[in-house]
């Protein structure tokens, strides 16, 4: 019941928007997202990590095709639902300083996207998962199209077609497995697991690539990442936050829930290729990030690098790797939203995000400086920040899988230190110039966004146990479903 409310509350809120046409759309959107967060927190409070699937909802939807409206939450989904519901109010709050024309439409799209994202994380029916997966594309497409930056027409169309290509191939793969389910076929996740595992290895390999492509485009993994930097750059900041904070987690979640247990033999055959691609992506993206001259692009490339590490951890097929992936997803989501907001603040104060033209912001905005360095260190994965917990577990797991890959993956920590600290040095430290000397410090709304992020970064870094315990039994169950452990 709570799950249904969780999914449909954003839709209701959107309808209220259109009915009322409020002038203060953003306040209503913030209130709606906070209510959503409250529901999620109630669910977390009542959640029992060792209790398997909870808050289950199962209605027949399209009987003749074996499709049900089946939702449920286990540890993995709970963590991601929590991430989504925590980030959405922060994203909405961060947009307060901007006056978007037709704000009703903007905030409705943000809420609709929240609904689709939560739907992806809790769906247990293959068709329903696909529907939510595709539905998440529409709001973000329109957000980028209508309120984006230069060249947004071609860039967003490329993003849409690229992602859709991956998704359609995933549909073909899902359909293939669906037709292997016995009798009157069913899209139920357990049925798909059984059917996929019963396929011969060669066919499992084909299905692996069909499904993997969609997730690889979404995360993105090298070499399917070319849509990402331009799209993150052109999108309005809330859009970029939605994309990098939550939407890319869809890809990783998809790989964990809908790829690994469906074709385990295929994963055994091709998982190492996927891992190598991820590790290549880490190094490639990090090197590109070092060369970036603009902040938003630098953070976009750093995101590819971090996600590469998470994906590599997933494909190690070990408890450590998967749990590292889970907690790093949470940390990465929070940190990246914080980083993009910081860029947004700099952009709105100085009208530029070119590193070369900034400098010495610290002299005029010390609080901003402190917040920036803490979030940055969370990204660099300094011990005592949330990033460290995840990256340590991931690098350990990848290293156990294969020493060489582990070494290359560990390079991410060094590289991220290089480009993040260098950008910090060049924008915040040193002499302030004409543009930055009038940099005002954080105002009320900005503090409300950044302080919770800072607190979370430190809190999870010091005390990650609740999150790790939340996901541990679910990850173990998943590995069991794969026939490992």
């Amino acid at each position: 019941m709570l799950t249904l409310f969780l999914i449909f509350w954003p839709v209701l809120a959107t309808l209220v928007f259109f009915a009322l046409k409020r002038q203060d759309a953003k306040k209503w959107a913030l209130a709606a997202s906070l209510i959503e967060l409250a529901i999620a927190l109630v669910m977390v409070a009542g959640f029992n990590p060792a209790g398997g699937l909870q808050f289950e909802v199962n209605y027949p939807w399209i009987r003749s095709l074996g499709i049900n409206f089946h939702l449920a939450i286990d540890g993995i989904s709970m963590l991601l639902v929590l991430l989504t519901t925590v980030l959405t109010p922060l994203i909405i709050l961060s947009s307060f300083k901007h006056e978007y024309d037709n704000a009703n439409a903007f905030y409705s799209l943000v809420l609709l996207m929240e609904m689709a994202l939560i739907g992806v994380f809790v769906a247990l029916d293959g068709f329903l998962f696909y529907i939510f997966w595709e539905m998440a594309l529409i709001p973000i497409y329109f957000i980028c199209l209508r309120w984006g930056g230069v060249n947004r027409g071609p860039v967003t169309l490329k993003f849409f077609i690229y992602t859709l290509a991956g998704s359609l191939i995933m549909l073909v793969g899902l359909l293939y497995v669906y037709f292997q389910t016995p009798g009157d076929h069913s899209f139920n996740i357990q049925a798909l697991y059984a059917a996929g595992q019963s396929l011969p290895v060669a066919e499992q390999g084909l299905v692996f690539w069909a499904l993997f492509l969609a997730f690889a485009v979404k995360m993105p993994i090298f070499p399917f990442h070319t849509w990402q930097p331009d799209t993150y750059y052109t999108s309005p900041t809330p859009g970029t936050m939605l994309l990098s904070g939550i939407m890319l987690k869809m890809g990783i979640y998809g790989a964990i829930r809908w790829l690994l247990p469906v074709v385990p033999a295929g994963v055994d055959a091709w998982g190492s290729t996927a891992l190598i691609l991820s590790v290549i992506g880490i190094v490639y993206a990090s090197l590109l990030a070092i060369m970036q001259k603009e902040l938003k692009r630098l953070i976009a490339y750093s995101s590819i690098a971090h996600v590469g590490l998470i994906a590599a951890g997933v494909f190690t097929l070990e408890q450590t790797g998967l749990q590292g992936a889970m907690i790093q997803m949470f940390s990465h989501g929070i940190v990246i939203v914080g980083l993009f907001f910081i860029v947004d603040i700099i952009l709105s104060r100085t009208s530029t995000q070119e590193i070369a033209s900034l400098g010495g912001i610290r002299n005029n905005a010390p609080v901003f400086n402190t917040v920036f360095i803490i979030i940055l260190l969370g990204s660099v994965a300094l011990p005592l920040t949330s990033g460290f917990v995840g990256e340590f577990l991931l690098i350990k797991s990848v290293f156990e899988y294969n020493g060489a890959s582990g070494t290359f993956a560990a390079l991410t920590m060094i590289f991220s230190a290089v480009y993040m600290l260098r950008s910090f040095q060049n924008t915040m430290l040193g002499e302030s110039n004409a543009i930055t000397s009038i940099f005002s410090d954080l105002d009320q709304h900005e503090k409300w966004v950044l302080y919770p992020i800072v607190i979370l970064v430190i809190l999870i870094g010091v005390y990650p146990a609740p999150l790790l315990e939340m996901t541990e039994p679910a990850v173990a169950d998943l590995l069991n479903a794969m026939g490992r452990n």
Binding site: W61, I62, R63, S64, L65, Y130, I131, E134, M135, L137, I138, F142, L145, R146, R152, G153, L157, F160, I161, L164, A165, L168, I169, L171, V172, L175, Y176, F179
Partner: protein
């Protein structure tokens, strides 16, 4: 059968309205009559019988498609109201449209090849005239002439095919033909030649490639409401007729003709989608898009299994809703010359947000994006193909869907992104507003609750 009487009666009444001067009451009368015929059809569900010596059989297939035709006709009349009012020959228009709907009903319920021919002719002749109904425009005249010539040529093939099938089986009746084909007593040489001719003749009617060359010119030249009619009702009736013939009679020798249809499908999908990318005139683009949808429908004919008919019904309903939406918006936005290009839609979101929302829903549905009905329609067709093992065909269809995104989204981008100097707020006639609300709700409703239509056939 009662519905056929109602529709024909309506058409005759329309003609009489001119003589007896009750034109004012004609429009509400026709709407009521169409709704009444749809209701009568519902009552015949599971109980339909055959008429005229087994020439017409109102089985569930016929009833379902006739209801779709009637409902689309109702929406069409609302969409075209303003144009019809301004027209002096309103009664002739009404009569022609209603007669062609009757022809369409014949085309979905026939069980005799002669009836198929009659249905096609009744439908097509009315449309040859309607395509040229804007007699001041040279393009309309050209469209009518092209349609007439190509259509008659195609009907020639159709007749040749019917004659050959008769020669092979000595019967026009579909059930007798089916029995003869199944037990192998039909003369195979003549039968296969006949089937090929029938594929060509019917292929013209559904505008499959390479028989589609008339479609873009005719769709572009005809007045926009007539194009909407051609694009929905004619295409639905033609395809339903095609499927009915081949599933009822020639299923047993499917191995002989399925390769031909497969080639047609792949050609249709590829050529239409790629050509549509290069179109700037919106009516031409919609014409090519309509050809591509014929291609998607042909997938279920290739698959020819027990869920094909249901998939066609669903797809056709979703397609009709989205196309009517698109043409209504197009009609509201284009000027007098009816030559809208993609740029005509620039900045529509500021000039009339409701119209741009409806057009966006229509384009998304035609492109096949959830949760619009168009997505589930495509998905359902893929399911039928998978069930019969045609995975390669699904991959081609997926690829062409992606190409389709490009030209459908061009309109969305123009509406939401581009700006325009035109300050004019586009006005919508009241009836068109009703049509838009109904079709958008149907698109979303069928998309979220496909069970309303799935499993009916």
């Amino acid at each position: 059968m009662n519905s056929v009487f109602v529709l024909s009666g309506l058409a005759v009444i329309s003609l009489l309205a001119e003589v007896f001067s009750f034109k004012r009451y004609l429009f509400p009368l026709v709407l009521l009559g169409l709704l009444a015929s749809a209701v009568l059809l519902v009552f015949d569900w599971n109980a339909g019988g055959s008429h005229f010596n087994n020439m017409l059989t109102f089985d569930n297939y016929a009833i379902a498609f006739s209801i779709v035709l009637s409902a689309t006709a109702v929406l069409w009349f609302l969409l075209a109201r303003k144009d019809l009012e301004a027209n002096e020959n309103i009664t002739d228009h009404f009569a022609l449209i209603l007669f062609s709907v009757v022809g369409g009903v014949f085309m979905v319920s026939y069980t005799n090849l002669a009836m198929l021919f009659m249905g096609i002719e009744v439908l097509s002749i009315c449309l040859y005239v309607l395509a040229g109904s804007n007699f001041k425009s040279i393009f309309s005249n050209e469209a009518a002439f092209k349609y007439f010539l190509m259509g008659s040529f195609a009907t020639g093939f159709l007749l040749f095919g019917i004659a050959l099938v008769f020669g092979a089986t000595s019967s026009f009746d579909l059930t007798v033909v089916a029995a003869q084909v199944a037990d192998g007593s039909a003369n195979t040489g003549w039968l296969y030649a006949g089937i090929l001719m029938l594929i060509i003749g019917l292929g013209f009617k559904i505008s499959a490639v390479p028989f589609h060359f008339w479609a873009p010119d005719v769709y572009e030249g005809a007045p926009t409401p007539v194009t909407a009619f051609m694009s929905t009702i004619v295409k639905i009736a033609a395809f339903a007729a095609f499927y009915r013939l081949f599933s009822m009679s020639f299923g047993a020798v499917a191995a002989q003709w399925v390769d031909v249809v497969q080639v047609l499908t792949i050609l249709t999908l590829l050529v239409s989608n790629i050509t549509a990318v290069y179109q700037h005139n919106v009516k031409r683009m919609l014409a090519y898009s309509s050809v591509s949808h014929a291609g998607y429908l042909l997938i279920s004919l290739v698959a020819l299994n027990d869920i094909s008919a249901s998939a066609i019904l669903y797809y056709v309903a979703a397609y009709a809703a989205a196309t009517i939406t698109a043409f209504t918006v197009l009609h509201a936005v284009e000027g007098r010359e009816q030559d809208a290009v993609v740029d005509t839609f620039n900045g529509l979101v500021k000039r009339n947000p409701f119209l741009s929302f409806c057009m966006a829903v229509a384009m998304l549905s035609l492109a096949g994006i959830p949760p619009m009905a168009g997505f589930f329609g495509k998905y359902y067709l893929f399911t039928t193909a998978f069930e019969s093992g045609y995975i390669g065909l699904v991959l081609v269809a997926v690829l062409t869907s992606l190409i389709g995104i490009y030209y459908y989204f061009r309109i969305i981008i123009a509406m939401y992104l581009k700006s325009t100097e035109k300050e004019r707020i586009v006005a919508i006639p009241a009836y068109a507003r009703i049509v838009l609300v109904v079709t958008v709700i149907l698109t979303l409703l069928f998309g979220i609750f496909p069970d309303l239509l799935v499993g009916l056939l």
